[in-house]
């Protein structure tokens, strides 16, 4: 967690959609190239949106960044919106995969929450463009994406609900049905304000605060703070 993580784009653990095929003649099978074109378009959109914002991005911007022709774009997507949805889904799937993996590596729930939050912050810090795409531009990219955005946030609720298991009755009595929803909403709001202000580099330092915030309803202040502050 403490070592700097900044995977290069062609690191093998990177999902192909977020990596780039080097331009030039490569003699690869047609099917592979087609798949890769789609991936390049998605990466191209992420770059274009980071530069222009969603509203200002045109298909020409995307194809220029992806180094493919306009015709190729339309072989894969019917519109900028459709390409954005594909990019959004790719980024969120990757984010969820990382959170899931970190969460499941820990045996105890409080530490699992800390690990999951840590994985999320690490990804968003390492990928400021994708952070912006998924947390800022997604909101203004039309109703289809907004619906997905809401669902993605609500999809984090079960990680917290797991904390109810085995809690004493008086703790459970203090948790309202919307506690988990409020926790994920609060965390996302904190994160997206930093992404908005182009302060993604601050995100990793939020780990103790977010962990304590998330655990307090279940463990009380003192125990939550203890898990939050442990290295």
């Amino acid at each position: 967690m403490s070592e700097p993580v900044n995977p290069s784009v062609d690191s093998p653990e990177y999902p192909p959609e977020l990596a780039r095929l080097p331009p030039g003649r490569h003699g690869l099978p047609r099917e592979f190239v087609a798949r890769n074109q789609r991936e390049r378009l998605i990466a191209g959109l992420a770059e274009a949106v980071a530069e222009q914002g969603y509203a200002g991005t045109t298909i020409a911007h995307i194809t220029r960044h992806a180094a493919v022709s306009r015709r190729t774009f339309y072989e894969h997507f019917s519109s900028k919106d459709e390409c954005f949805v594909a990019a959004y889904d790719t980024v969120m799937a990757e984010l969820r995969r990382r959170v899931d993996e970190a969460f499941n590596e820990e045996d105890e729930w409080p530490r699992a929450v800390r690990a999951g939050i840590g994985a999320m912050l690490e990804f968003l810090t390492a990928e400021p463009h994708l952070a912006r795409l998924s947390m800022v531009e997604a909101l203004v990219a039309g109703p289809v994406v907004v619906e997905r955005y809401d669902a993605a946030i609500q999809g984090l609720v079960p990680y917290f609900e797991a904390g109810r298991k085995g809690r004493p009755a008086e703790v459970l009595a203090g948790l309202s049905p919307s506690t988990e929803e409020a926790l994920v909403g609060g965390m996302v709001s904190l994160i997206s304000r930093r992404v908005f202000a182009d302060r993604t580099e601050e995100l990793e330092s939020l780990l103790p605060d977010l962990t304590e915030f998330a655990l307090t309803p279940y463990l009380g202040n003192a125990a939550a703070a203890k898990v939050a502050r442990q290295g």
């Binding site: 914002g53 203004v140 203090g174 309202s176 506690t179 409020a182 909403g185 609060g186 996302v188």
Partner: protein
């Protein structure tokens, strides 16, 4: 003040001050935009739609606003300051901090239930309109920070609380209200009061004390604060 500089009105024109007309035109345009957005969604609304609905000339629109985005921001600011005004008024009357937070939240939820269209403009449409409106929304939330922060003085562990706790609590409260607005059930929003009060107070007072305040506010008898 307008009298000196205003030319003599042409026949049939009302003798209203320029300022008066301008102010009301602005309100009419903003209102027209809010209605259009709530029906079609921000992206599908054009300046032509707004102009038609407001019954004004296209030039008049551009005399008042630089763009659709500019006009939306004005609508959002109007709605948000209406909400904030209610909160400040209600919370300001109460000295005891936990009840002050409760009064503020109650006023906010009441505003949302009573004015769902305005609430949607500043909480739902604002988040889908433009980066500038999302930024304004996020900044508006921060006006609640100082109200919550006072809780550190009455909390036994106020000094140890995370620096960002207020920001996170407010984000959580707004997220819940936003979700209920999306479900289009504004009339149920006021029933959220006890759980939101409990959520907001727990980090400062502990779950037990937070629940007592929350249940009292629900109209349950304070003395017998029995759990239902």
């Amino acid at each position: 003040m307008a009298a000196k500089s205003t030319p003599r009105p042409l026949p049939g024109q009302h003798q209203l001050s320029r300022e008066f007309i301008a102010k009301h035109q602005r309100a009419r345009i903003v209102n027209a935009l809010a209605l259009e957005v709530s029906e079609k969604g921000y992206r599908n609304v054009t300046v032509a739609d707004i102009v038609k609905r407001a019954g004004i000339a296209r030039n008049t629109f551009y005399e008042n606003f630089g763009s659709k985005e500019d006009c939306f921001l004005a609508a959002q600011q109007f709605a948000m300051s209406a909400a904030l005004g209610r909160v400040v008024e209600a919370a300001g009357e109460i000295d005891d901090w936990p009840y002050r937070v409760e009064a503020g939240l109650a006023a906010f939820l009441h505003f949302v239930a009573e004015e769902p269209a305005l609430a949607r403009t500043c909480m739902v449409d604002a988040l889908a309109a433009a980066p500038s409106s999302v930024r304004y929304y996020e900044e508006s939330l921060q006006s609640f920070v100082s109200l919550f922060r006072l809780g550190r003085d009455v909390s036994p562990h106020g000094r140890k609380l995370p620096e960002t706790i207020e920001e996170a609590l407010i984000g959580g409260v707004f997220w819940i209200v936003y979700q209920r607005l999306l479900e289009d059930e504004p009339e149920r929003i006021e029933r959220l009061l006890p759980e939101l009060v409990e959520f907001a107070l727990t980090p400062y007072l502990g779950a037990e004390a937070a629940r007592v305040v929350a249940l009292e506010g629900d109209g349950a008898s304070a003395a017998s604060s029995s759990r239902g």
